[in-house]
Symmetry: C2
Subunit: 356 residues, 2 copies
Amino acid sequence: MRYNHQEVKDFTANIFVAMGCPANDADVIADVLIAAELRGIPSHGLMRVNDYYQMAKSGRINTSPVISKEHETPSTATVNGDNSFGPITAKKSMEIAIEKAKVAGTGWVATNNSNHYGIAGYYSMMALEHDMIGVSLTNANPLVSPTDSISRMLGTNPVAVAIPAQKYPPFVADFATAPVARGKLALKSRAGQSVPFGLVQDKVGSPSNNPGVLEQGGAILTLGGDIEHGGHKGYCMSALVDIFSSVLSGANFGPFVPPQVAYLPLLNESVGKGLGHFFGAIRVDAFRPVSEFKKSMDKWIETFQGALAKKERTVLIPGEPEREYEKKFIKEGIPIVPSVYNDICNISSELGVPSL
Amino acid sequence: MRYNHQEVKDFTANIFVAMGCPANDADVIADVLIAAELRGIPSHGLMRVNDYYQMAKSGRINTSPVISKEHETPSTATVNGDNSFGPITAKKSMEIAIEKAKVAGTGWVATNNSNHYGIAGYYSMMALEHDMIGVSLTNANPLVSPTDSISRMLGTNPVAVAIPAQKYPPFVADFATAPVARGKLALKSRAGQSVPFGLVQDKVGSPSNNPGVLEQGGAILTLGGDIEHGGHKGYCMSALVDIFSSVLSGANFGPFVPPQVAYLPLLNESVGKGLGHFFGAIRVDAFRPVSEFKKSMDKWIETFQGALAKKERTVLIPGEPEREYEKKFIKEGIPIVPSVYNDICNISSELGVPSL
């Protein structure tokens, strides 16, 4: 079934108000989750409402947070999210980065004491209307093994960067630094399908094509896979996202990142405050006049659109597929699968929120 | 044969003085090239002396550059390298980033009109003695095809990030965003060996294990390889390095990056000035007190050193292998292969420089 995105957003916001969030905060969370649905990333959309709800219900989220700056310089700030739902703290952090950039040319915010923040791209895209490049990184629960290891040490640690253009829509890269998402593996596993070698390993570190390997002590490999395929470069990328999100902010890193689902117990050891993010805002006119930059970016996009495609393929500019989904789903409504629909209906009736 | 690194450095500097470089500039170039040798990356070391020499000889390098700031804000600058040898402009750009960071918390420099700058890590490591994180990116000649394309559009576009710790040596990631370097393919090809699938494709975009494919119209794949292995994420990474190095600075991007060897003709079309880099310096105390940050970074390193290794493997912290080479080569001398030795001897005799 398909549902009007505005109605789903209002419904979702009402759920978060009923959980105890101020109306503004509830709107932000709903906007971030529905943005994921619209952009064709349902793994970060309504599917998360139940996780967020169970986390709040078990007292693992502060629904009335006081978000604060712990430290700042002209181009930086460290933000403490007061254990809020991630989207609230993340949006506030990105706003601070943008304000810093207005004065200093660039703004960089390291955020601690936060939680799962939805799609990374949401925050990077906030910079676009200010003629800025936006950057958004976060760490996440450990599922990925470093090169030559069998321990799960890193999350799928996404990188999102949004870059404005003039004639063309912006370049929006929003990608995990691991080759495959947990959700995709779960879907393949349920369907009884295998995955290509080079994405996961079993518990002793042997190559595997079994998508159910995570439930059996296995791990996701870094981008690239084994060392012969450059997997150590993927390890570096993922480690950098982790360090910027956590060591710089004072949040938990690597295997210490707190689980973002209520059915997994909190860890005994903590090495920082909550989960961490890192944000950047870069005024393009801190380097070149905006018009020159955008003209050059248009030319970049045209050049890459002009690349020769393999037979029956298309060379894409990052952000294009998500934009196509958005157009379609705004017009036709968001598709919600029955299991997610049932979950959110149960939550709304439990909380006394009018049903969708 | 092995040669004392200090003697080789002096010899190399003399070669660049004989090419017309001021003594200080020659020292910088020699230091960057020898740093590559010491760190076990000979592809970016003395092997480049001949390329640099031929470029200068054919008038494609300005040996008396006046490097200038084109634009600046409190945390940023755009630097024009005046078509210098890359290392001179790159070092100067990183120094500016560090000075900006001292005042604004972070400093970011986009550099145009430069050339091949050696190892990316050299510049990122300059930040360490200031208790800063250093960032260094550059674009490079196109050898890599975007996902689903058969055109060569991107360089191996490296990312280098150096992060200080206290008890342990710094974390130094310095990696190409492509899965394999051209030099490594050339070695395999000469040895008549194949490479694993997932690194290169032939001229119609079919999977290949032939390391000689670049000479036959083929291309290097992005990190991850095909889309099923997350290669589109590697494409995003590489594209970001290109855009930051070129669109932000006003340099040439993608397929327009000028060849960094004299035997390839200059391109007819230019979309900017020379080759581009991007540098960052981040004061760690712009986010947290230095002692807290370093303690946390030590814990990060210990945690990842403690990851369980696969049988007969070791889990490495980025920067460790290069540090081992450096220790060994400082003590035992730098190994120089006969072909490179002959090249530099020929150049020195051509220029009237005392031989090594």
